[in-house]
Each structure stands twice: as structure tokens, then as C-alpha cells.
Amino acid sequence: MGKHIKTISGRTLQSTVRDGGCGECRTSCQSACKTSLTVGNQACNKKKTKNA
């Protein structure tokens, strides 16, 4: 951790390219009439299962 810069999240999108794309996560409607989800606020289903 630097003196001037504190990194909160060091996970990179690039690192998800290799093992992502399994298609098992929930769909994420973005219209206002359902409870719309900004895709980025989802959790990865693989990670959820691993952490459970």
C-alpha cells in the first residue's frame, strides 16, 4: 500500500477473461420496471459457490 495511493480492489477485469464466461450467473435486467441491476453489482456465481 502506497503512501499516497491506497488500492481498495486489485482484482482486474483482465484476470477474469481466462476463467470467466461460464454463463451460470443470474440474468441482470436493467429496465426500471423490474428491480434493475447494474451488471457490475452482481456476484460471480463461481465465486459465490466457492466461498459458500
Binding site: 495511493i5 488500492t7 482484482r11 441482470s28 429496465s31 420496471c33 447494474t38 451488471v39 457490475g40
Partner: protein, 448 residues
């Protein structure tokens, strides 16, 4: 590309292409912003007189270190062979319109107060079961499948919903799949029997309440124009207080009539609900309740107030989960998911009561968008049209720092407002960006 902003004296830098988030001090904030557009030597020359040589040297060294580790000024993460086609053609989620009818007459209802501008009607058991059969087949190798009970008001068709939960679990079990149900309801009919069904089958529930009584009743009256607030709140409270694990959101809509919507979130939180979602209405400019561009400063400020309130609750040990401010930086979705977006028209379809299928619930009742039926399967493939509507094909997204979080926004809104899937709904974009700023700030403040 970076996005640097200040929220309540916290200096924040989001590295757009990696998704890395940094909290910085003021010198680092200004120096990193300058590094995006100028050479290091020029930046040093500019800031040494301001912050001193030692500080500038330290910041530049830290920034260089982050850059070499791919956490700052990271390159575009898009794989070289990316084309975003839904290669296996799987459909893994269905939105079942159990009822094109409703027991409320919400003024802002996108579904023409429940009937989708067509005949009022209920989905039959046969159509519902055919939809489940279609899903089991069309989901291919996907293990997790989803069914949303939607309407209108789906509880007007309770027997069919009960049957489909049972049938869906049976068919998923046979197919070795995991099925997840979600019920979106106005709660008027959420009685003990429905509560039992929800709890026994682990349904996720979205309960519609707009907030303060006058706000709720103005937009969500009964068919005779009366108040629905008291009944709805009683039903929701009864359900939420049940001593069992449950997955629920109290979901409200704010309009031009309640731009002070943080007060509605507060109202719901103080009523004992701790999973909340209050969202901006989407409506044509002709409607008195539609949000306008000129409302943006007020709405932005209201999101600031809401953020401070949620932080206060967190610090008091009474946290409230506000759906739009959820963000998982370490275990969030992969790049592929972020490029797929909402999956409408590809992995997600909506089913009308009579069995016709559409790209999503927003398209139901529009014959030009019908993709097939639960009996005949997909007859008109919209996969390509929707899967190609991703951030790399949207000019506005390519310039936007939030693109990997919102994934390009709602297709239906883009079409409704701009007549083009590739041109996002601008007002929605501005609000999404503001919510993301708030979410990141909250994440920083609540991360130990």
C-alpha cells in the same frame, strides 16, 4: 482511461479498464489525472512547485508501480477474438407473465396498468408448463436456470404459480439443474398461503412500495382510485418479519413528483425494511411525472443525501442494503458477463400469457419483436441483434468510464427513446454513473 472524482473529501480513482479502485490523497489525485493526458516529465514540471519534488516523485513512483501491475491506465481488456455471439444459443431465464391484469392502477406502469395494451388475461397451466419444458431444453448445458413470475400482478394467477413452482422443481430435478424463482408483486395478495409457498421454495421476492404514503398513493392507487399504501405496507411488514431466511427487496419507483426520494428510502428503512431498491421512473417526456434533464442536479444531490444516510446507518450498526449501491469489487462478474449485459433476446426471454415469447418483458405485445412461442420454440432468432448491442458497438459507451459496470444499459430504453439499440438512453446513463460513484464511495467507507 480513469475516472477521478471527489465525494465528501474522499479522493477516488477508478481505473476503467482493469476495474481497480484506489483512494488517493490530493497530490496523487491531481497528478494521476494529469498523467492521463500528459507525459510524466511535463506532469512533474507542473506539480513540483505545488506539492514539492519529494511528494511528486513518490506519487509518480506509486503510479508507475500500479501501472506495471495492470492496476492503473490498464489496456482494454477485450480479447482479440471477441465477437460476443451467444455461441451455444442457450436460453437460461424466462420471465413468465402469469397475469396481464392487475389489482392496482399504477400511473407509471409500463405495462399499460397491467394489460400490456391488449386483452386482460391469465396464463394457463398448460402454457406455463410448456414454458418450463422449453427452458429445460433450451438451457442446454447450463446448470442454473431462472423463472420470474411477473405481470401485471402474478398473484392474480396464484394456482398456476403454485403449480409451476412444483412442476419447475420436478423438471429441474430430472434434468440435474438448479431452478431459481423470483416473484415480483405489489403485495396486495401476499397472504399466509403465499408466504408459505415463498419460504418453502426459496423464492426471491420483489415487493413494490414507493415510500411515504402520499408518494405511494399518488402513483399506485387501487382501481377505484383509493389508497393502497396501508394494505401493502401491512402485507410487506408481515412477510419481512417472519423469522425465516428470505431473499427480498422492497422496490420503489421515484418520479418527478418525489425528487426528494431519499426521504422515501429513509421512510422504508425506518419502517424496518433493510433490503431496498428505489429506482428512477422511465417515461416519455409527455408525462407529468417523467424525469427531465433539468432535474438531474436535484437527483444527483438526492443520491448524495441517500449515500450519506446509508453510511450513517452502517456506522450505527443498522445497515441497509440499497440494491443499486451494491457492488462486489473482488468477486463481481467476469468480463464476459459485463459484455453480455442483461441477456435480453439471447439468454433471457419473456413469455406472454398465451405463450408467445419476446426478447424481454418490455417487448411483450409487440408483434414485430415476437421471437416464437413456448410450443414451437424460437422461430425468429434475435440473438445476433441483441448480442451485438454491446458496449464496444455503442459509441457513447466507448467514451464512458462506467461501461464495464452498466454494460450499456437497457435495450428497451435505447429503442424507446432513440429508436436504436446502439444508442443508450442518456438520462438513464447519467443516473447510472451517479449511482456507481455513490456505490464506490460507500464501498470505500465500509471496507475495513
Amino acid at each position: 482511461m480513469i475516472h477521478a472524482y471527489v465525494f465528501d473529501e474522499t479522493f477516488i480513482v477508478l481505473d476503467v479498464n482493469s476495474g481497480s479502485l484506489h483512494v488517493v490523497d490530493e497530490p496523487a489525485y491531481n497528478i494521476i489525472k494529469a498523467l492521463e493526458i500528459a507525459h510524466q516529465e511535463d506532469v512533474a514540471t507542473r506539480f513540483v512547485p505545488v506539492y514539492g519534488a519529494e511528494t511528486v516523485k513518490e506519487v509518480l513512483a506509486e503510479a508507475a508501480d500500479l501501472k506495471s501491475n495492470g492496476l492503473l491506465f490498464a489496456p482494454d481488456p477485450r480479447p482479440h477474438n471477441f465477437n460476443n455471439s451467444n455461441t451455444d444459443g442457450a436460453v437460461k431465464a424466462l420471465c413468465l407473465h402469469l397475469a396481464h391484469d392487475c389489482n392496482l392502477r399504477c400511473r407509471y406502469c409500463f405495462a399499460s396498468q397491467g394489460d400490456y395494451a391488449g386483452d386482460r388475461g391469465l396464463m394457463s397451466k398448460e402454457v406455463g408448463q410448456a414454458a418450463i419444458d422449453f427452458l429445460m431444453h433450451a438451457s442446454g448445458n447450463r446448470k442454473h436456470v431462472e423463472v420470474d413470475f411477473f405481470g401485471g400482478e402474478p398473484l392474480l394467477n396464484r394456482p398456476v404459480m403454485q403449480d409451476l413452482v412444483e412442476y419447475g422443481r420436478l423438471r429441474a430435478g430430472e434434468a440435474g439443474k438448479v431452478i431459481k424463482f423470483t416473484l415480483t408483486t405489489n403485495a396486495i395478495l401476499l397472504d399466509a398461503e403465499v408466504q408459505r409457498l415463498i419460504l418453502d421454495n426459496d423464492l426471491a421476492v420483489v415487493l413494490s412500495v414507493d415510500g411515504r404514503p402520499q408518494v405511494h398513493d399518488r402513483m399506485r392507487p387501487t382501481p377505484s382510485g383509493g389508497s393502497s399504501y396501508r394494505r401493502v405496507m401491512e402485507r410487506c411488514a408481515e412477510f419481512v418479519r417472519l423469522p425465516f431466511d428470505k431473499e427480498y427487496y422492497i422496490r420503489g419507483t421515484f418520479t418527478r413528483h418525489n425528487l426528494d426520494f431519499a426521504a422515501d428510502v429513509r421512510h422504508l428503512a425506518e419502517a424496518g425494511f433493510d433490503h431496498l431498491s428505489v429506482e428512477p421512473v422511465v417515461a416519455g417526456a409527455g408525462m407529468d411525472y417523467a424525469l427531465r434533464e433539468e432535474d438531474l442536479p436535484t437527483i444527483m444531490d438526492e443520491y448524495n443525501k441517500l449515500t450519506r444516510y446509508l453510511l450513517e446507518r452502517h456506522r450505527q450498526g443498522r445497515p441497509v442494503e440499497f440494491f443499486h449501491f451494491n457492488i462486489d469489487l473482488d468477486d463481481g462478474p467476469c468480463l464476459a458477463k459485463r459484455l453480455t449485459g442483461c441477456s435480453a433476446g439471447t439468454e433471457y426471454l419473456a413469455v406472454a400469457p398465451t405463450g408467445e415469447m419476446y426478447p424481454c418483458h418490455q417487448f411483450v405485445g409487440r408483434p414485430d419483436f415476437q421471437v416464437g412461442s413456448v410450443f414451437n420454440g424460437v422461430e425468429k432468432d434475435t440473438t445476433n441483434m441483441f448480442s451485438q448491442a454491446h458496449i464496444y458497438n455503442k459509441k457513447a459507451c466507448l467514451k464512458c468510464w462506467a461501461r464495464f459496470h452498466c454494460s450499456g444499459g437497457c435495450h428497451a430504453n435505447a429503442l424507446a427513446f432513440n429508436g436504436d439499440l446502439l444508442e443508450p438512453y442518456k438520462l438513464g446513463c447519467e443516473l447510472a454513473k451517479k449511482r456507481l460513484e455513490c456505490a464506490l464511495y460507500l464501498k470505500i467507507c465500509t471496507t475495513a
